[in-house]
């Protein structure tokens, strides 16, 4: 049997789909859906292949690093691909009902391009290639935000574009310094060569700054709430679930493989990295507080959900000062759970908006009871975000707390607890309105059942993730992206 090049297929298929959608706008929804299903299956194929063979390296063009570009799949990238596939499929189904044709014909090519960019990004082992995928992702994301039209969305998209380009340039400057220091842009080669030097330090600073900007870590989050809240609901979902995670993934990858300098004498650098990790942890903690408080203060549902993303991103950075395998796994599990739950939440918000024509939280009592499926989705997703059992969020929180206590830095764990309580407060602020019933002031919009069910399925998935944690956690072990033993 011919060896299947799943690694390539998961990049080429969405690109092909995008091209097909672009060429035949009238059939765009069908082509898009077929692509989404095919892509989901391909990622399953890749998963199976990786489970059988272990971590894979694929030399595009047959050259191999350092001259050519390598693709690399290990547990970490595979998990990201799976998250993208799951969320992507859900978003595709949701969008097939959400957009009318005049916007669908723009949405589908852009979305499939974005999907291709994400997959290419997660698979790339080349930091310059990652720059190209970052730009591909950023432009697609901006265009998708702008799709809702209107002053707020366009302004938000504009700001997002500038931020995205700025972040990319910082990153690219870092790439330039690294390349000119070590003559390679391949992550594996760099990880063997990198030593402590001023250029490397400046490169780290630039790349971390650029990626933090793209990941919207406090205080660089200013662009996120307007962009994520004014985009169309499925776009908000994919931005929060996937796009901000992509830059986080790069940061994590570089942190784990390029920055640690495991083969150099521990000393100055280790200390420096420790300091940087503490700073990232502090920013994460600040993000938890700020995002939580801001979410509580919002009067509009989508903004609330967007600020909740700011908070959850803060969680991810609490893993940096812990620097343990459990901590990284916890962060990745959190990323997974958050992606699924936030997708459900934005979809639910989108349904409410669709139905009631607005998303003012104070008037939700007019809507919530009439959309029980949507409300259940919101509530279940909220449980996972709060980190209550049984849910994916709980597993992640448990692991992160465990890592915090084991590393003797329990105060980071405390931030998790605080964040959970803040999340509880804003989630129930919304849920509280579900139990009263008021009259609708106007004719409600029709919400296609598909949109309600997809939201609910994703929310249920967030819950189920709390019961089947060993599987994804074992998947993450493939290729030991986090190192062999506790550092």
């Amino acid at each position: 049997m011919i060896e299947m090049h799943w690694v390539v297929i998961v990049i080429l298929l969405p690109l092909t789909g995008a091209v097909v959608c672009f060429l035949w706008p009238r059939q765009t929804v069908v082509s898009g859906l077929i692509t989404a299903v095919g892509l989901f299956a391909s990622v399953l194929g890749l998963t199976w292949q990786v489970l059988e063979q272990g971590a894979l390296r694929y030399a595009v063009g047959g050259w191999g690093a350092p001259l050519g570009i390598d693709l690399y799949v290990d547990g970490l990238s595979l998990l990201m691909l799976i998250v993208t596939a799951v969320v992507g499929l859900a978003i595709s189904v949701y969008s097939s009902a959400y957009f009318r044709l005049d916007r669908a014909k723009h949405f589908w090519p852009l979305w499939l391009f974005l999907w291709a960019a994400l997959n290419a990004l997660f698979l790339s082992a080349d930091i310059f290639n990652i720059y190209v995928t970052l730009e591909l992702m950023g432009l697609a994301a901006v265009a998708l935000v702008a799709l809702s039209g209107g002053a707020n969305a366009l302004t938000a998209a504009m700001r997002y574009l500038l931020v995205s380009l700025l972040g990319s340039l910082f990153y690219l400057m870092g790439v330039a310094l690294l390349y000119h220091s070590y003559g390679s842009v391949d992550i594996a080669i760099l990880s063997q060569r990198v030593e402590s030097s001023p250029a490397v330090w400046v490169a780290i600073g630039l790349m971390v700054a650029g990626l933090l900007l793209k990941t919207a870590l406090f205080p660089l989050h200013f662009w996120l709430p307007p962009a994520h809240s004014s985009a169309p609901a499925p776009v908000s979902a994919l931005l929060s679930a996937l796009v901000v995670k992509a830059s986080f993934y790069i940061l994590l990858r570089l942190w784990l493989e390029v920055f640690p300098l495991t083969n150099t004498v521990p000393g100055q650098f280790a200390l420096g990295q420790f300091g940087l990790a503490q700073i990232l942890g502090l920013l994460g903690a600040a993000a938890v507080l700020w995002g939580g408080i801001q979410a509580l203060r919002q009067t509009r549902l989508k903004l609330l959900v967007a600020y909740s993303t700011v908070l959850q991103i803060g969680y991810l950075f609490l893993a940096f000062p812990l620097a343990s395998i459990i901590g990284w796994k916890a962060a990745l599990y959190l990323l997974l759970a958050h992606a699924v739950a936030k997708t459900a939440m934005f979809m639910a918000a989108g349904n409410i908006l669709f139905y009631g024509g607005h998303d003012r939280i104070a008037d939700l009592d007019r809507v919530a009871q009439r959309l029980p499926l949507t409300l259940s989705a919101f509530g279940l997703a909220g449980i996972s975000l709060m980190g209550l059992p049984p849910s994916g969020g709980f597993i992640a929180k448990w692991l992160l707390l465990e890592a915090a206590i084991r590393s003797g830095q329990w105060w980071w764990g405390l931030m998790l607890i605080v964040g959970g309580l803040l999340t509880g407060a804003y989630v129930f602020k919304v849920i509280g309105y579900a139990f009263t019933r008021s009259d609708l002031p106007h004719e409600p919009g029709f919400v296609p059942k598909r949109m309600e069910w997809v939201a609910l399925v994703m929310a249920l998935l967030a819950i189920v993730l709390g019961l089947f944690a060993p599987l994804p956690l074992a998947l993450l072990e493939i290729g030991s992206p986090f190192g062999e033993s506790l550092r």
Binding site: F428, G432, T436, L467
Partner: protein, 498 residues
């Protein structure tokens, strides 16, 4: 397919599946819903019966599913869990019957009964949990499942009560989580083990263990409504009567109390706890709660609020029994877990009947109600006397053993607490009995509804009557085999093995 490994899971599923089906059931399918509810409840009772018999005969039931690497979701039947499971299963049946009658024709029944079943699922899960993480899982599920029941009516007061409830319980849950993980990092295991699994730890860890103990008890104390963490409970009285009954007699407060038993006995071990010096403070907190809440109860005119404060006080009997280190007191505490449940649910059923039938919410409106609703008030009277601790009712048995246990352990001061509390109990129950039996009715009732043949609907009347009879029987036949008292003795022999 091994029966012994699946039975605990089946017991949990018997209400979980019911809950899920009810959620998707259309509002108007009330027959189907009732059938499902009662069917599920009956099935659960049968399964629990089988299990109790099995445990008594030395069977080992355990379901184990991987939850995290190194941590399993464990449902296990041991003697202690049987006590709580049997109580929950039995009272669920009655409360379901009651709730069907109570909520007839009211809106949102699918939602109500769905969460109601979920609540019972969580309670049973709490009871069967074989380790601390499983306990935590169901404990939090209970928080979430009861919230919609508290805010069910959707009024501003209900929403406020729901908010208060969440603030208390979520914060408590967070402490519990923190303590659990901390414990796990110290020991690498969370399995409930008779006489604890911590005594082998190096003594340098003991100060940390004391902190963990305080965190655990605080986290659990929220649900058990220990003073000063009881604030949510009286507010939660806005919920419909069946919910109050369930919350206060079975599910929430008992989950907290049961958790404290688990922590003291099966995590720390009672002797190790005593050696850490944490039991006496716990006993004192329980004693303060008993007296304080009884005093507060005296001054409540709202019937359900008075009962709520009474609950706060009575649940601490259980904790007191645990904290007095000694087998007799333990028996008293554990048996009170069941006895208080049966008696308090009777009282809440009756309060619900008064509200539903006559619109009575306040004690000042109860003049002469005994003549209008003699059966209800008879049941209420039995429950009230039980609470006071009058022989030969169930409450008497609990207090008797608590007192004996205190003397046995040399904690004579407890006798004064018991006596004081009994006086206060009498102080807030007897006036109710007096006005309802001996005062003249005021003429008309606040909102009377007619239910035909009986003083109220049969579905509302039968449950309190049954539980009242049960409260009487539990006292009279306390020494019969399989009675809670005998079962508590059985447990105690395990915990205090020579």
């Amino acid at each position: 397919m091994n029966w012994d490994t699946w039975l605990p899971l089946l017991i949990v599923l018997s209400s979980l599946l019911v809950a899920l089906v009810i959620f998707v059931l259309p509002e108007d399918r009330s027959k189907t819903r009732t059938t499902l509810n009662l069917g599920g409840a009956a099935l659960k009772i049968v399964l629990v019966g089988i299990m109790v018999w099995g445990v008594f005969n030395g069977h080992h039931y355990e379901t184990r599913l991987p939850l995290l690497p190194g941590l399993d979701l464990v449902l296990r039947a041991d003697a202690l869990s049987m006590l709580f499971v049997a109580l929950s299963a039995g009272l669920w049946m009655l409360t379901t019957v009651y709730a069907v009658g109570y909520l007839e024709d009211s809106p949102h029944r699918s939602r109500f009964f769905g969460f109601f079943s979920l609540c019972v699922t969580a309670t049973v899960g709490v009871a069967l949990a074989g380790n601390l993480i499983t306990f935590l899982l169901f404990y939090e599920l209970l928080t979430l499942a009861t919230y919609p029941l508290i805010v069910h009516r959707g009024t501003e007061a209900a929403r406020k009560a729901g908010r208060t409830y969440l603030i208390y319980t979520l914060a408590g849950g967070a402490l519990l989580l923190l303590a659990t993980i901390w414990l796990y990092t110290l020991t690498g295991t969370l399995e409930f083990t008779a006489r604890g699994f911590l005594s082998t730890l190096d003594s340098s860890h003991h100060p940390v263990l004391v902190i963990i103990f305080v965190l655990l008890i605080t986290g659990l104390g929220v649900k058990a409504a220990i003073f000063p963490l009881h604030g949510w409970l009286p507010q939660a009285m806005v919920a419909p009567a069946p919910v109050s009954a369930l919350l206060h007699a079975v599910a929430v407060v008992k989950a907290g109390a049961f958790g404290i038993i688990r922590v003291v006995y099966d995590v720390f071990g009672i002797e190790f706890s005593a050696s850490l010096g944490v039991t006496l403070p716990l006993a004192i907190v329980a004693a303060v709660t008993i007296i304080y809440a009884s005093m507060r109860a005296l001054f409540q005119d709202d019937l359900k609020r008075r009962l709520a404060f009474s609950t706060v006080s009575q649940v601490s009997y259980i904790i007191l029994g645990i904290a007095i280190v000694g087998p007799m007191a333990t028996i008293g505490g554990m048996v009170h877990l069941v006895h208080q449940g049966v008696m308090k649910i009777t009282l809440f059923f009756c309060a619900g009947n008064l509200a539903e039938t006559l619109g009575i919410h306040k004690i000042s409106e109860m003049n002469g109600v005994g003549r209008r609703m003699p059966w209800t008030m008879a049941a209420f009277t039995i429950g009230a006397f039980g609470m006071i601790g009058a022989p030969p009712l169930a409450g008497f048995i609990s207090k008797w053993y608590l007192g004996l246990g205190a003397l046995e352990a040399g904690q004579d001061w407890v006798i004064f607490v018991l006596a004081g509390s009994s006086l206060l109990n009498a102080g807030y129950f007897l006036p109710i009995l007096y006005v309802s039996w001996f005062k003249e009715p005021a003429g008309s009732w606040p909102a009377e509804r007619c239910f035909g043949r009986y003083e109220t609907a049969l579905a509302l009347l039968a449950p309190p009557v049954i539980t009242a009879i049960l409260a009487l029987t539990l006292g009279l036949l306390a020494s019969a085999p399989f009675s809670p008292l005998e079962w508590a003795r059985f447990i105690t022999t395990l915990e205090y093995a020579p």
